[in-house]
């Protein structure tokens, strides 16, 4: 007889695992990855490989150095690497991508304790640090399909920073990603495909992306004087869809309850809208998500579900207080009775 396994209940477990979740996210990222290679050429593939490779390597080395368990098998570093690459322009020098990976994995993720412990999305912070450190290189967007003409990368601006309507390409081109931008954000079609994969595989709930995009769309609609073209344009250009579908839905850095997710997504949308409309930057989704990441613990606290049949401390106190009062009354009654009896006895004695 082999040894019996003794474990606490339950003795059966669901099929889902961290690894499987991460793998599904990677699969959902594949359409956008293919789109980026088609649009921006082989260098896009190189940049993605560099980011993924360095992210995995940094995680492996860090955990080895600090004598922690090996975790690269859960694939979460791969997801971070792909997402970080998606946030970079194809022209970015490779060493900068490695710096981004270092920030994302070592500083944001591992230094806070690794998977599940980071308060901010690693890829987003990686992007923001690079954006602030190398503003020129980070906004050096390539013209789509530049490689077909045999040129080196010709640069262009993201359509979000276009100053006159003539600079804006046709809407259908925009939707399929034929415009300047960072690797993963241009092809809305591929991102929406990824969104559908995530929904069908039940990795995320639709609330966060829909509310985030909805808030930005509605706000832009109002700000632009009810211009549908401009609203649509705001949705399919820039990092809005990438952020809403893949970054704002990151388990670790967003609230756990549905109510919390709604507040989080609305907050993201609002901040992104304010930055886009009022601040001097064409793009605000990354900052919006980072800001709301910081609010996540507070949101979690205020949206905590109320246990079934719970007596909150207030009602318990009231109940105890009323009990005491009740007891007091009884005592008074007894006293009263005793007094009456004594009086009666006295009366009897007197008579």
């Amino acid at each position: 007889m082999n040894k019996l396994i003794i474990e606490p209940n339950p003795h059966i477990r669901s099929d889902n695992s961290t690894k499987q979740i991460m793998l599904t996210v990677i699969i959902a990222l594949v359409p956008a990855m293919l789109a980026s290679v088609i649009i921006f050429g082989a260098r896009a593939a190189l940049l993605i490989s560099i980011c993924v490779g360095s992210c995995v390597l940094f995680e492996y080395l860090f955990r080895k150095m600090f004598k922690k368990s090996r975790t690269i098998g859960d694939f979460s570093a791969i997801v971070t690497g792909i997402l970080l690459a998606f946030n970079l322009p194809v022209t970015l020098p490779l060493y900068m991508a490695v710096i981004g990976s270092f920030v994302a994995i070592v500083i944001v993720k591992e230094m806070f304790g690794g998977l599940g412990q980071n308060f901010a999305n690693p890829a987003i912070v990686g992007r923001i640090v690079l954006m602030l450190s190398f503003p020129a290189q980070m906004s050096n967007y390539a013209v789509p399909f530049y490689y077909k003409d045999g040129f080196d990368a010709v640069t262009t601006a993201t359509p979000l920073s276009a100053e006159s309507p003539d600079q804006i390409p046709p809407m259908l081109d925009l939707f399929f990603g034929k415009h300047g931008g960072s690797l993963g954000e241009t092809c809305s079609f591929a991102l929406i495909l990824g969104f559908i994969i995530l929904l069908v595989m039940r990795i995320i709930r639709p609330a966060t992306p829909l509310i985030l995009v909805g808030t930005v769309a509605l706000g832009t609609f109002v700000f632009s004087g009810f211009n549908t073209d401009e609203t649509l344009f705001a949705i399919i250009t820039g990092g809005l869809l990438l952020g809403a579908i893949f970054m704002a839905t990151d388990y670790t850095t967003n609230p756990m309850t549905l109510k919390g997710k709604i507040i989080f997504a609305f907050g993201c949308g609002l901040i992104a809208l304010v930055i886009r409309q009022l601040a001097g930057m064409p793009e605000g989704v990354a900052f919006a998500i980072l800001t709301m990441n910081i609010f996540t613990p507070v949101i979690d606290k205020i949206t905590r579900p109320k246990p079934l049949g719970m007596k909150d401390s207030k009602t318990v106190k009231e109940a105890e207080a009323s009990k005491k009062d009740g007891a007091g009354e009884v005592k008074n009654d007894v006293k009263g009775e005793v007094k009456n009896n004594v009086k009666k006895e006295k009366n009897n004695e007197q008579s």
Partner: protein, 430 residues
């Protein structure tokens, strides 16, 4: 409000097979502490001959029920056993004699009023057969002036995977189920009864509703429950059948509800007719290495090694579970006996041992908790030894259904930690 719940695989392969009766075991080990409440004192000595149904243990404590011999034979030994749920209890080992003879005390009890009914229920040795094992007569002896019970809820949900004992009870003894319900309603003056049953058992529902229609029992209704775990947990069942929420620290009685398991009421009806006490138990034998999943009748006290013989296993098991897979206990000793509350014995050989990894804050545990707790936060509070927070987050309401551990992608033993946290609160009473 729709309560949180989790969809589980069913694995109910034993559902449509008639309960079998394997040959009697060579010996039985009858625990003197079979249920919640005080353990019994033995009424027989080593060397005594006992007959089937003879009372061999009893106690004067308020919450206790007698234990009866499940076989005819000789008391060989008195041993101390460690039950699967971790309790140490005394047990009598009885060697089975070839001839099975009923004890002379076995005859239908005379019921004249409520008091004699309750006395009979106690003498039957009946405990809740759903698994918790609370003595039935204690549950029935409520004071009607303090807690006016108006609804009898019959728990036929059977939401645990694999387990089909209650379903078989309805399919094989539906008359008894009905009579048992009427019996309790009559003697305790409860006007209405609801049978809560998961809606994937249409045959059982049809069988029961036919009897109800035939007997014109207007007071009894059937409430089909969604196919989600844990419908059979007392508080959840009450909510699903009556819409009432049991307040923290209160009993169902305070909300006018009395919950009994379907097999328990059926047993009561049978006992009133025959007088045979609770000495046999219907067990579901199943698991991923069991060739022929089935239900069997075994005498209470049958040791695990005898069960393996009738289980027909494909390979040696590496995990044996007493009870359902969600709330049952790991067995570790081949001598572990079946008790009155064992509903299933499951043999597994292909489920891997789980290893915990880091929590990724996916929130699945929160979405499946029927009690609306935050298992994730309870775990971090326990790790931080934060007793006030544990108290505020109401870890005491956790009913250890283990839905949270089931869904956890990081395979964390969330539910186990909640139990440790409950223990911590008990040790640190304010």
């Amino acid at each position: 409000m729709i309560l949180n719940a989790v969809k589980l695989p069913e694995y109910k392969d034993s559902a449509e097979k008639k309960t079998e009766t394997p040959p009697l075991p060579a010996k039985v080990i009858i625990s003197l502490s079979q249920n919640i409440g005080a353990p019994c004192e033995p009424l027989v000595k080593i060397g005594d001959n006992v007959l089937t149904g003879q009372m061999i243990g009893d106690s004067n404590a308020l919450i206790s029920v007698p234990v009866h011999s499940s076989v005819t034979g000789t008391v060989e030994d008195e041993v101390k056993i460690l039950s699967v749920d971790g309790r140490v209890s005394r047990a009598l080992v009885i060697k089975t004699a070839p001839l099975n003879k009923m004890h002379e005390s076995i005859k239908p009890p005379e019921i004249t009023d409520k008091a004699s009914f309750l006395k009979a229920v106690r003498n039957s040795g009946s405990v809740g057969l759903g698994g918790a094992g609370f003595p039935t007569y204690v549950k029935l002896s409520f004071d009607k002036s303090k807690t006016p019970v108006n609804t009898l809820i019959i728990n036929a949900a059977e939401c645990e995977p694999f387990v089909t004992g209650d379903y078989r009870e309805i399919m094989e003894n539906s008359r008894n189920v009905f009579e048992g319900i009427e019996l309790v309603m009559k003697h305790l003056e409860i006007p209405k009864a609801v049978i809560g049953i998961e809606k994937d058992k249409p045959k059982a529902i049809a069988l029961l509703s036919d009897i109800i229609k035939e007997k014109n029992a207007d007071g009894i209704t059937i409430k089909p429950l969604p196919l989600k775990y844990p419908q059979g947990a007392e508080k959840i069942l009450i909510y699903q059948t009556t819409g009432k929420t049991i307040k923290e620290g209160e009993l169902p009685l305070h909300s006018g509800c009395l919950v009994l398991n379907v097999s328990t009421v059926s047993f009561l009806a049978e006992y009133m007719k025959t007088g045979v006490p609770l000495i046999t138990r219907r067990l579901t034998i199943d698991g991923d290495i069991v060739n022929n999943a089935k239900n069997i009748f075994v005498p209470v006290g049958t040791p695990l090694e005898e069960l393996i013989k009738s289980a027909n296993l494909r390979k040696t098991p590496d995990r044996i579970v007493f009870g359902g897979p969600m709330m049952g206990f790991s067995a570790y000793d081949m001598q572990t006996p079946v008790t009155k509350t064992t509903g299933a014995v499951l043999f597994f050989g292909e489920f891997n041992k789980t290893t915990e990894s880091a929590c990724i804050r996916c929130g699945k545990c929160i979405h499946v908790c029927s009690m609306n707790l935050s298992p994730y936060e309870l775990n971090t509070a326990y790790d931080a030894n934060n007793i006030p927070l544990l108290r505020r987050l109401k870890v005491n309401l956790c009913m250890s259904c283990s839905a949270c551990s089931f869904v956890c992608p990081a395979k964390r033993n969330i539910c186990e930690k909640n139990q440790l946290a409950k223990q911590l609160l008990k040790e640190n009473k304010s």
